[in-house]
Symmetry: C2
Subunit: 656 residues, 2 copies
């Protein structure tokens, strides 16, 4: 229902009539069936949301483990594994299933991620047939529980420098795994404190006195629930959230495993006891190994985006039920969502959530395509690098979005939002770590920037910061600047803008996706070439490259963020372009405009500083956001209903 | 230690040598002794931080209650009450004590707030001598535990519309308290689920069939731990945090209390059964009553600011211990705080915390002054209104700061920040509700805006939104615009700027507090007059005032925020101006500049849109913020050490 104010300013506006089922089909996409299976499983076991609050930590951990095994039996958690081992043979389906799990208890989600994504995924991606034959069937069935022992207390982001060692003992043809000191203890390892029988351990491989960098080994750690000799475990104790997952620390005291336990897809020790690898450069080898684990990042990004949907569903529905203060009528208090500010607080987040949903769909699709190639085929290196970059960027923006959206939605539900029964407590606490695990978001955005600066050149991608800065400064600056040169870009963009050269500055174009994309592209390329110049200038002045980088770091991160935001908008625009004309398309176009304009609005200072917005047009964008919020208001409930979070999972007697 | 980059750009810069003890004296101010008493008490009982994680909820609630009583015995919690009842007779001391409690477990803080601030405070402020004589001694000693039963499920922000009734029964000379329906149940009431013997109940008073609006009554609810007849209680259950506080719901089924139990400072029922009040206008009466409870807001603001200090202490200390990635040296990984981005993430928050600390000091001082007047003396109405506005604004900004700072600090500590032992879990969960209790922050900022628009005119202050909009539009617009007229302001500001008319645009002046303040004042007054014009235009066009207000609501909030940020900067500038020359002053000047420039930077789009920043100067401000971060870096640890959070309270074996 349009309000009087709308009527005055926009007499022609009639909100679209959204067919929720149709919109849901658009959101669920190719894997609607998989998502529905997960919805059904979650609804069936919705009691776990209460149990998380009533059980002791010990009981809850067992409950979560049992649930993970129960869900495994439905096929839900093994979709990404080869069919010959009982998997579904469809990586894309596996991502869709995982994402949807975020509607429910997130300890279950994370435990699934640890068991099937990290532990199983490492065996699948880093191991070879002998490992697949030995383990995968049991992993997929949840009979062999495992953990992913990469992070150490001393090294989380810079895992290339971790301290655990794996020394090849040629006499016994075994590796000896050791924890040299307490900072090298494995830490925060899910499944380690209680349930894992085996660990994939990342350690510095040493053969014949020579170090070859980090490699992964399958290391049994428990038998019949008892720790094996040489293994020490400490519980990580109470965490902010995710207390259904048994995180712990691991120390290895000369633990011996057969040579076969090296996950040897990318490097091996031969029968003769010699190290060999098809990838000569140790940095490149390391990053190639890591690169195969990109799935984890895609999954976490999707989990964040989907957890935020629960919060948005609750806050939007509450806002059309809750009244407070007499505003437009002296007889009835006003609905929260009819306040302009409340719209401003929730609706751009809703638009962002949709945008990220479609960006995540692209990331998952690319992942599926890249990894569905025969793993031994000659791969398209650049496609992999671009995928890693996209995954990193989507994960960073998706998880920050989750933190922000859940917080805003909690506040928008007032005191009721603070009660555990109304779901925000667990949503906040459980998702909080998403921004820093599976890659700290800032480190991930640096990775994105590095890819952009080096144009995903694999030889340089593996360089450390010092090397990267020198590379950019000394070798490739001209290329980077040439590629991102603003004047060329302006030429390109002018062609797509309706008003040609003046297209930047015509109010009529605000809702033109070509204009919106041109703005984000300009920002991306201008920021990026600015970073390149700045790095070069610093090095030319003889400064320490590390300090040059440190001083420009906010600029580096801004460039990466600009890039990812452009990808996100592109995904949204591309999606709506495929839709048939009709009210669902109208609704999504509104949301896409809202996402685009609120993204530009948030950084409008930058656009003004760089001559792409006049004051007048900048203010027009703010007005545009307000106007779009008013237009989205009447369909807001439909938009969250299309997320189709099962009602069993919403709980929230005080909100709904 | 200045880095090479610093040396190149700022060869003259030598960081100040901060005497931490001296800086601590500046922060602790007048009430250093009180703060130290609380520090000592907290350190002695630091075990409660662990107990919060290990005890059952039921045990923990008892533990917290016992601690509150124990602390009461030290005099720490009764400082704001008159000496004749065992209090300290110093409201300012009471705020200082409360704030400092935020270094420890926050259930203890909130329970103290409920018992002494809300329950005791209501009796003190709304009651008269008979109530003081009857209750205060027991309240102060913690013998009479009570709760503050204002909020209802249906009404939290708009408490004027709450549903509980108190009907005067002249036959028995009693009030009958009733809960008409479930939305009128009292909800989220601290101390209600278990410990309160009595409640101060806010209810619609009806005498002889006539309604007189909301009044407060002392209602016994338990005797010897058992509920009294007619009282129904339900536990609010698990909350996101603060689980040491027993929040609950209350229903009253015809509960009778003697006439004397009306807290009758502002209204009474006479022996003859007639309602009488010295304040004729019922709105004004209601807001006058509420106004006396302003102390709660000042306390919560201070609690947020001080809780954030714990987070900042941890994150800054971790950042000078934790190394990750090789950056400036190939031999040693880089300290987190030597990364430009890490400085950007933490140091402006540190500066903001200092700024808010001094703003809070001003708010507490004003509170002390206003309330130390004889309560029956003719009061300065406008001073009270300004205090209420300042308290509301400081509370909003202080608690949002807490949420943001704690979040950023957690992320800056990575996975370690997620473990409960490292304190962020409780800090986040416990402080989360600060932004919405004791007044939802957005509602509070609206209150601030209303005060500004009506110039704290008490006759109009009490109007509801409709009335306010009409008032602004029809009666007082000219005054508001006159008062805030941009051209007059410009004249005034030009005089204080070093370059006169061109002062706005000279880079030299960036660190001049006159320039910084002029910028914030200009924004404040320009935004405010803009709101006034917009409201008038809407009403002139014949639109519904509520809709006009709704459409302008983001603008209203922006005006309030601009006002409060100006007050905060002013407080910081005023404080540093009082300091003797020396390194502590140099350090605080650096921080004050960082606060000022990062505040301007955050809203630089607005300043550009309104012709107060050129692109070049806007970029210079960003450079200035980066430069200040580098200058604050070497003293960052001293700055957090001056908070003097007792080491027993920091825990965090993984961080320190």
């Amino acid at each position: 229902m349009a309000t009087t104010a709308d009527a005055a300013s926009e007499s022609a506006y009639r909100p679209p009539t959204v067919d929720v089922a149709e919109l849901r089909r658009v959101l669920d996409g190719k894997y609607a069936e998989v998502r529905d299976l997960v919805r059904t499983n979650l609804a069936e076991h919705a009691a776990v949301l209460d149990e998380a609050e009533t059980m002791s930590r010990a009981e809850f951990r067992e409950r979560v483990k049992d649930l993970v095994v129960t869900m495994a039996a439905t096929g839900q958690t093994g979709m990404g594994f080869p069919e010959e081992y009982g998997g579904g043979g469809d990586l894309g389906a596996s991502i869709a299933a995982f994402e949807t799990l975020a509607y429910g208890d997130l300890s279950v989600l994370v435990k699934v991620g640890v068991q099937f994504g990290l532990f199983g995924g490492a065996i699948l991606m880093l191991g070879t047939k002998r490992h697949h034959d030995a383990y995968l069937e049991d992993v997929i069935a949840g009979r062999l529980m495992g953990c992913f022992a990469m992070t150490e207390s001393g090294h989380g982001s810079n895992v290339q420098a971790l301290g655990t060692t794996a020394t090849y003992d040629s006499d016994r043809d075994e590796f000896v795994i050791s924890t040299p000191d307490d900072v090298a203890r494995k830490d925060y390892i899910g499944n380690a404190a209680l349930h894992a029988h085996a660990a994939v351990v990342f350690a510095q491989l040493e053969v014949d006195g020579e170090g070859h960098g980090v490699h992964a080994f399958v290391v049994p750690i428990r038998r019949d629930g008892d720790l094996l000799p040489g293994i020490r475990v400490e519980d990580d104790g109470l965490k902010m959230g995710l207390n259904g997952v048994d995180n712990g620390r691991l120390w290895f005291d000369g633990v011996r495993v057969p040579r076969d336990n090296l996950l040897n897809r990318f490097a091996d020790v031969t029968d003769e006891g010699c190290y060999q690898s098809p990838i000569e450069n140790p940095d490149k080898r390391f990053f190639t190994m890591l690169g195969t684990l990109v799935q984890g990042r895609v999954c976490v990004g999707g989990a964040g985006i989907n957890a935020a949907k629960v919060a948005l569903t609750l806050a939007v529905r509450y806002a059309v039920r809750r009244r407070q203060f007499y505003a437009t009528s002296p007889d009835e208090e006003e609905l929260l969502l009819d306040y302009g500010l409340h719209q401003r607080r929730l609706l751009p987040l809703l638009a962002e959530n949709y945008a990220l949903h479609f960006a995540q769909e692209v990331a998952a699709l690319r992942l599926h395509d890249v990894f569905s190639l025969d793993p031994d085929e000659d791969e398209d290196e650049k496609a992999r690098r671009e995928l890693e970059s996209r995954a990193a960027g989507t994960k960073a923006l998706g998880t920050w979005h989750a933190t922000r959206a859940i917080q805003e939605c909690r506040e928008a539900c007032g005191g009721a939002g603070y009660l555990a029964v109304n779901r925000f407590a667990a949503l906040k606490a459980d998702t909080d770590v998403f921004t820093t695990f599976e890659g700290d978001n800032h480190v991930l955005l640096q990775l994105v920037a590095k890819g952009l600066l080096t144009d995903y050149a694999s030889d340089f991608e593996d360089l450390d910061q010092l090397g990267m800065v020198r590379f950019v400064a000394e070798l490739a600056l001209e290329t980077v600047i040439e590629r991102t040169a603003a004047h060329k870009l302006l030429e390109r963009i002018k062609d797509v803008l309706p008003g040609g050269d003046d297209g930047w500055d015509q109010e009529a174009g605000l809702l033109d996706p070509n204009y919106q994309l041109a703005m984000l592209r300009f920002r991306e390329e201008h920021t990026l070439s600015g970073v390149a110049r700045r790095l070069k200038r610093g090095v030319d002045e003889g400064l320490n490259p590390g300090e040059v980088f440190s001083a420009a770091q906010d600029h580096v991160i801004a460039a990466a963020r600009a890039h990812v935001e452009r990808l996100v908008l592109e995904a949204f625009v591309d999606k709506t372009a495929t839709l048939p004309d009709g009210d669902v398309k109208v609704a999504l176009d509104l949301l896409c405009d809202l996402y685009a304009l609120s993204t530009i609005e948030r950084d409008r200072a930058w656009f003004m500083e760089h001559g792409r917005l006049t004051s007048a047009r900048s203010k027009a964008i703010t007005r545009g956001v307000n106007d779009l919020c008013r237009k989205v208001r009447p369909i807001a409930v439909d938009l969250v209903d299309a997320y189709a979070v099962p009602s069993e999972l919403l709980r929230s007697p005080d909100l709904l």
